[in-house]
Amino acid sequence: MESIIHNFVLPGQVLATSNSETDGGFLRGHGTYIEIVQDKESDNRHATKAWGNDQSNYNVVMQTDGDDASNQEDDNDTLKTGPQRLIASLAGTVQRVNKLISVIPTSSSVYTGQVGDLIIGRIIGVGGSRWKVSLTCSHNGSTREGQLPLSGVNLPGGVQRIRTSEDVLAMRSLYKEGDLVSCEVQNVQRDGTLILHTRSLRYGKLENGVLTTVPPGLVGRRKNHFCTIEGKVFEKEGANDMQIDDEEGGDVDVYLGLNGGIWIQRKIPSEWENTQGMDRDSRVPLAETLQKLRQRHASTRVSTLMRERIARVRNAVECLRLVQYQICPESIESVVRASLMADVRVGHMICPEWVVQLTEGTRQ
């Protein structure tokens, strides 16, 4: 905890000063800006102010090589010639990679993308050979938008070719406005715009499940964001049979989008895959088989029991959000278990008194 407070900066705090323009003591990263010092007088005043606050040990976090704090305090002459200054523009923690200094905002409501992140987003616009994806999963008034270019999706059937104008016209047949998609960040542009792609068979349209959204800060980065909560978690000890359909394995899939979108659906049963595999021609590509599986998932009714399980997982996530606890499969499972132990009905899980009680075990 100590180090977190120590590295915390506010907009306007000086992160580093460099002595001359050619020095290049630092590189500007996200969440910072460079200011060229013009007036010696004002520079001095500013500098003493900034460094003066240093005594309260959080203000100035790091300086470029060669300038240590004592140096700065003692002779301001070096500063007078310093034409550049790196200043934070966001409230957050400082990250330094060699010369690159950036500020990672700790605001929980803001998602800052990184390459490779899983995103659960909603298509809000089609056009210009790209889809606009709302990262807040909302239809309108979305604040952050990602771009999903046509070249970033798999064509039906998994054929690999250059996209033609026919493909552009048929874009709505793939994803249309209002669809939910899971996708990955391919690239982060200079201005922070995210370029997405769904060019893996794991990504694509999401159907027949439940979406819930949480502050992005609660979803930590982990190895795998496609998690499964096994059916046995939902089974109470003692209760012998849970008349679960043989068709459905009883497992629940949870996709933890790093933008805060969380998608819950039933796990596609392995029997389906086998039946698909039976009539699977070796010539039929894997992409097509998976597509068929998805279609079957989308068109098959979810049994009542399964719905209850999905709802329970959804409310477990909601419980964790309400107590601001990190959302990961372990914490979800533990809340689900607690709710079953306490014999709480799904609808009652998000009553405040139950929220506190159910998350008690998790929080410790």
Binding site: G12, L135, S138, T143
Partner: protein
């Protein structure tokens, strides 16, 4: 024997009508993320809010909501090289009226003027050039007004912008200072409440005859020492020195405000970090 009123007693021991010392600001509380942002809760968010803050300075309470940066609705509002900053200031029907009883919130000139002032103050700080062709909307709701709603609005807007993660040059902090003569003694005080503002603006021309009464809301960027906003409607017969004194006091007030705001942001940051690390305290929001 004439009975002493409370205010008389206070003025005898050099305290102001609400018991503060002249250089003391009102009790200030800041709450970042007062409203759940868009990506919270249900799958059907109602507002496009990306950051919010609730600030109370004494009895004045202001809620600020920031939306954006998002697409500009109308093409004509779009700027090619920077973001459009839209500021809306509204009062709630239950907040006590200012000096007028009836005010239509959409046409009230005072609110429009304040939204313009807020806009100038904020555009000095927001790095608008980072979001070309987009729009940032700052909506301020005055929940309770005991004087100094402009200052509270500026502070709330800064915090809401920080909550939304919009890059700022520096925090914009606002505080007012005033000067009037009470009982023949000139007083310079910081962070005026409504009664004091009325005293400072109501009797124009000076109570003691020699001194000015000044009410001066000031917004600064405290870490750089820049003044981004200073509004004075009083007559200055005392000259620039009198003005300078008041401005200095106001700037000191801004520094105090900034410390409170910084502590609030830091606390919030630590809380968020804790949750990320998975060590959360019980905190039920909503």
């Amino acid at each position: 024997m004439a009975s002493l009123r409370r205010t008389d007693i206070l003025s005898l021991i050099h305290l102001r009508s609400d018991g503060r010392r002249p250089n003391e600001i009102r009790h200030m509380t800041c709450h970042l993320g007062a409203l759940p942002s868009t990506n919270c809760g249900s799958a059907l968010p109602t507002s496009g809010c990306s950051g919010s803050a609730l600030v109370s300075m004494g009895l004045t309470q202001v809620l600020c909501v920031v939306k954006g940066p998002c697409d500009v609705g109308r093409r004509s509002e779009e700027l090619p090289d920077r973001a459009t900053l839209e500021v809306i200031v509204r009062t709630t029907p239950f907040s006590p009226p200012g000096d007028r009883r009836v005010a239509n919130p959409t046409t009230d000139r005072r609110l429009i003027e304040q939204s313009h002032l807020l806009q100038t103050a904020l555009s000095a700080s927001i790095l608008l050039h980072l979001y070309p062709k987009s729009k940032i909307t700052v909506t301020v709701m005055v929940l309770a007004d005991d004087g100094g709603r402009l200052e509270a609005a500026i502070n709330a807007a800064t915090l809401a912008l920080m909550d939304a993660g919009i890059p700022l040059k520096d925090m914009v902090c606002a505080c007012s200072a005033g000067r009037w003569s009470a009982g023949g003694v000139d007083e310079i005080v910081v962070d005026l409440n409504r009664r004091e503002i009325q005293a400072a603006t109501g009797m124009s021309g000076g109570g003691g005859g020699t001194s000015d009464t000044i009410y001066l809301p000031v917004a600064t960027m405290p870490q750089r020492g820049n003044v981004v906003l200073a509004q004075c409607e009083s007559r200055l017969s005392g000259g620039a020195e009198a003005f300078g004194e008041v401005l200095d006091v106001a700037m000191k007030g801004c520094q105090m405000v900034m410390e409170i705001m910084a502590a609030a942001v830091r606390e919030r940051g630590a809380g968020v970090w804790k949750a990320k690390e998975g060590k959360a305290d019980v905190m039920l929001v909503e």
